[in-house]
Amino acid sequence: MTSPPSEQRRISVGIGQIAVSRDSHEVLVAYGLGSCIGVSAHDPESGVCGLVHVLLPASDGKVPQSSEPARFADTGVDVLLREMAAVGATSRRIVVKLAGGAAVLGPGNAEKFKIGERNAEAVKERLKRHGLRPAREDLGGTRGRTLELHVGTGKTFVRMAASPASEL
């Protein structure tokens, strides 16, 4: 991937956060996804893009804190699709890509801590309820990832530590 033009603005989407944009100069970025899942969503017709940084699998009825509206997979996916629809996206056209869900705390702990795996399952399950399935995914493993969505093109890129980005 070539470096983004200088006029592009990188919008950091932190843990439990969501960003929706149709500004072609913006790049939505979820830095350092460990066990978290980055959900990249793009409606090619309306140009609306969205990115959500999910921390935990299920809200179990808990209302997410306003500071982390997308903390949970279920409520996070719902909010993402609702906010995208509010600015012109149509759910059935949305192309979804996923990255993250790793076990980064050492191979010895991978079996013990399965939060990444559970997060991935929960996101897919919630997408399915909305009639969506991921077009591409880069999930699991033992390395953290950074996910970015270029609003101007709708392209999604993933990179691992000290590695070049590749299109998802």
């Binding site: 843990i15 350092g32 460990g34 066990s35 790793a102 980064v104 705390l105 801590f113 997060n119 953290g144």
Partner: protein, 200 residues
């Protein structure tokens, strides 16, 4: 949970962190052959990205060790160094000329695991002594990744139990005042009532 209890817990954990820092500093200074000073700037609740600032920001690559705490209470210990610092530590520990280690090979990995063992155990033992708890640190796992990816994974593990996340950040500085490393101790949520009780 009252504010008084919260303040008591913070004061108590800060005291443990200072004691752990002293012990770890002694161990590290002996190991490195130079004076290592460890500062405890704050005990913070529910922080994530802040912890990464000390080692270079959201995408900073770090090398270090991760341990779990078992026993009367459970929790997590993370020791992070900027990668160049970790490799420099490995040279010091192995008695090699600075700059000899240029990648995380087996020897460097083993040295970092030992560092994690010394520093992590110092903090866990300080916590055990101050709180009169029986605690066992696990063998260290060496980690080499983006700092935020490691911190958020521990944050998520603790939150799955419900309750609060308490992360004690401890910054190591060398003689020149440069950040040499970061230690994060995070008790599991189910350990907090016991810690609050002991701190009261």
């Amino acid at each position: 949970m009252t504010t008084d209890t919260e303040e008591q817990l913070v004061a108590s954990l800060a005291s443990v962190a200072r004691d752990g820092a002293l012990r770890a500093g002694r161990g590290l200074s002996g190991l490195m052959g130079q004076e290592i000073t460890i500062h405890v700037p704050a005990v913070r609740f529910g922080t994530k990205a802040d912890a990464c600032d000390a080692v270079g920001g959201e995408e900073a690559l770090v090398m270090g060790a991760y341990l779990t705490i078992a026993g009367d209470i459970t929790g997590h210990v993370m020791l992070f160094f900027p990668v160049s610092r970790a490799l420099a530590c490995a040279d010091l520990m192995c008695g090699q000329a600075p700059g000899t280690t240029t990648e995380a090979d087996d020897l460097a990995t083993s040295a970092i695991a030992e560092l994690g063992n010394i520093v992590g155990s110092a903090f866990v033992n300080a916590l055990a002594d101050r709180m009169n708890l029986v605690l066992h640190p696990s063998p260290p796992s060496v980690v080499n990744d983006m700092a935020i990816a490691l911190v958020e994974s521990v944050y998520a593990e603790i939150l799955t139990q419900g309750g609060d996340v308490v992360m004690i950040d401890t910054v190591f500085e060398d003689n020149g005042g440069n950040v040499a490393g970061l230690l994060i101790v995070a008790p599991d949520a189910m350990a907090l009532p016991r810690l609050r009780e002991l701190a009261a």
